[in-house]
């Protein structure tokens, strides 16, 4: 079971690479805490989402409780999902990938574990504050200022930690996933602290506040969740298939073009708003330039899969990750086109934008995060997932739910935009015409929540170590024959085991 590396990179700086089992063991307790918390927030955020969605077509639902009014439940859903589920699962995946790619054990484990408690405390405090009516009404930064500033600290610690791990890595080459992860941990703290200052300071009002708001909100996805999601896809697709990515050159080109173009794109959210036209045009140009990195990622992910799509039947990781990678292509092209003034005239202020946001944060990032967890958790706990049926329920409920959500709100959103641009149609009539599309949103939300519950049950059993033992750090016991057919060494091991 030793994993002495054979690459010449191992002599880098005279330090031997740690065995992979030691790396996983170093991550075990800490990352289970981050992942477990993330799943708890996922369930809580899903319940909030269903409540908020039902209120859109049935306004009397839970209308008596002021803390459950739409204006509080919806931002509570958004912030628990972004800072609870997405960020906590993202931090765990980021740390595991960084440790694996740097081939060194996870340092500062006590601090990272304590940070999970700290993070949970502030997300909970912020959510309670929003439900109590103390939200800021600044989308994606609804937590009160005292929560927003407190949450900046862990981002800064994370930056220092990843830079330290990278500087103390045991291999010379920095794999493309590591570049994306480094970008996330260096850029996002700067973005978060700057946006918190710009938005929370008393002098920031009106147009300035709106500009900073949408520059930040767009970059939460682009410079925080996107790099983690793309890094996961660049690692897990080739790793699960056992074949290198289609073009490493394109992957490097894609990263550096994303690094240079993405952070300019946010102001396209303010098309038609009272801000300088050049500021919006810069945002549109940045958005259109995103065709370059997105196309490189699309070519790479999809051509790596060509000829191997049958593996989607076998691998939970691959199934979720490829779904996420395809969604990344779709949401990115859609986003770039949506930034054009001509298209924005119809889609702005409609449900189309909500569908687009969920295609990014859910269909791309969240599905990729699920895929990463299906790969990482068995290696942390050294147990197999307890039930294939639960995994299938999870996948089909979330995939079909997301499809229903996206089709319903995209279609409804385009119609809504066209109707709102027609002065002959009264606004209230448009609101009534939207009701069937809003029902599709609630149905989709229920489906996705069923999937999340199945996933939470799987993760609970995994944390309780109820699954079958793994025979080694990587191979699943149930599929020795499959591996044996692919790898001669595995065939010998399979015969010996039998």
């Amino acid at each position: 079971m030793s994993s002495v590396e054979t690459s010449p990179d191992d002599s880098y700086r005279g330090k031997a690479a740690h065995p992979r089992e030691a790396i996983d063991a170093s991550c075990r307790g800490v990352l289970l805490l981050w992942y477990g918390s993330a799943v708890a927030w996922l369930i809580f955020g899903s319940v909030l989402a269903i409540v908020a969605s039902i209120k859109l077509h049935t306004p009397s639902f839970l209308a008596e409780q002021e803390w459950l009014t739409f204006g509080r439940v919806r931002p509570a859903h958004l912030n628990t999902m972004i800072y609870g589920w997405a960020s906590m699962s993202g931090v765990a995946t980021l740390l595991w990938l960084t440790a694996r790619l740097c081939k060194r054990v996870l340092p500062w484990r006590t601090a990272v574990g304590s940070m999970a408690f700290y993070w949970n405390f502030w997300v909970a405090a912020g959510t309670v504050a929003i439900l109590a009516g103390h939200g800021t009404s600044v989308e994606w930064l609804e937590f009160p200022w005292w929560v927003a500033f407190a949450m900046g600290f862990p981002f800064l610690v994370l930056s220092v930690l990843t830079v330290y791990m990278l500087s103390d890595r045991r291999v010379e080459h920095i794999y493309v996933s590591q570049w994306y992860l480094l970008g996330a941990t260096l850029w996002f703290p700067l973005l978060y602290v700057a946006a918190a200052l710009l938005i929370q300071l008393p002098g920031a009002t009106g147009v300035v506040k709106a500009s900073a708001n949408w520059w930040f909100a767009h970059n939460v996805l682009g410079l925080w969740l996107t790099p983690i999601g793309v890094a996961s896809a660049y690692y897990f697709i080739p790793k699960v298939l056992g074949r290198p990515i289609h073009s490493y050159y394109l992957s490097i080109l894609g990263f550096w073009t994303l690094a240079i173009f993405y952070n300019w794109a946010g102001t396209h959210h303010l098309i038609g708003g009272p801000i300088p036209a050049w500021l919006i045009t810069v945002g549109i140009v940045g958005s259109m330039m995103m065709f370059v990195p997105v196309t490189t990622v699309a070519i790479n992910h999809h051509l790596t899969m060509v000829g191997h799509f049958k593996r989607l039947v076998d691998s939970p990781t691959l199934r979720f990750t490829v779904f996420g990678a395809m969604s990344y292509t779709l949401v990115s092209y859609q986003g770039s086109l949506q930034s054009l003034r001509y298209i924005n005239e119809t889609t702005h202020f409609t449900h189309y934008t909500i569908a687009h946001a969920h295609l990014g944060v859910y269909s791309f990032y969240t599905m990729t995060a699920f895929g990463a967890m299906y790969y990482i958790l068995p290696r942390l706990v050294k147990r197999e997932w307890v039930s294939a049926r639960l995994i299938r329920i999870h996948f089909w409920c979330t995939a079909v739910g997301m499809l229903v959500y996206w089709v319903g709100l995209t279609w409804g959103g385009v119609l809504q935009g066209r109707w709102m641009n027609n002065p002959d149609i009264p606004f209230l009539e448009i609101v009534q015409r939207m009701v069937p599309y809003l029902w599709s949103r609630s149905v989709a939300g229920v489906l996705m929540t069923i999937g999340h519950i199945a996933f939470a049950v799987s993760v609970w059993f995994m944390i309780r170590r109820k699954g079958e033992w793994l025979v080694g750090p990587t191979l699943f016991t149930s599929d020795r024959k499959l591996f044996a057919s692919l790898d001669p060494d595995a065939k010998l091991a399979s015969e010996a085991a039998e």
Partner: protein, 66 residues
């Protein structure tokens, strides 16, 4: 002042990317693409080996293997 601050941060993000790229070029990180693509494989998880499948649907044995 606030717009200037925001534009400065945007520029700082862009400059950090340019700095990172120049560091990567000068340290030989850009190049050797074939070796780079294969750097995630090793003896245990070698090229050609599938490393993830659905778990078995049979009875679960949670005892530690002897």
């Amino acid at each position: 002042m606030y717009v200037a601050m925001m534009v400065s941060v945007v520029a700082a993000l862009g400059l950090s990317a340019v700095f990172g790229l120049s560091w990567a070029v000068s340290n030989g990180q850009i190049g050797r693409f074939d070796a780079g693509a294969r750097s995630i494989f090793d003896d245990e998880e070698s090229e050609g080996m599938v490393t993830d499948t659905f778990p078995s649907s049979g009875a679960v044995d949670s005892r530690e293997p002897t």
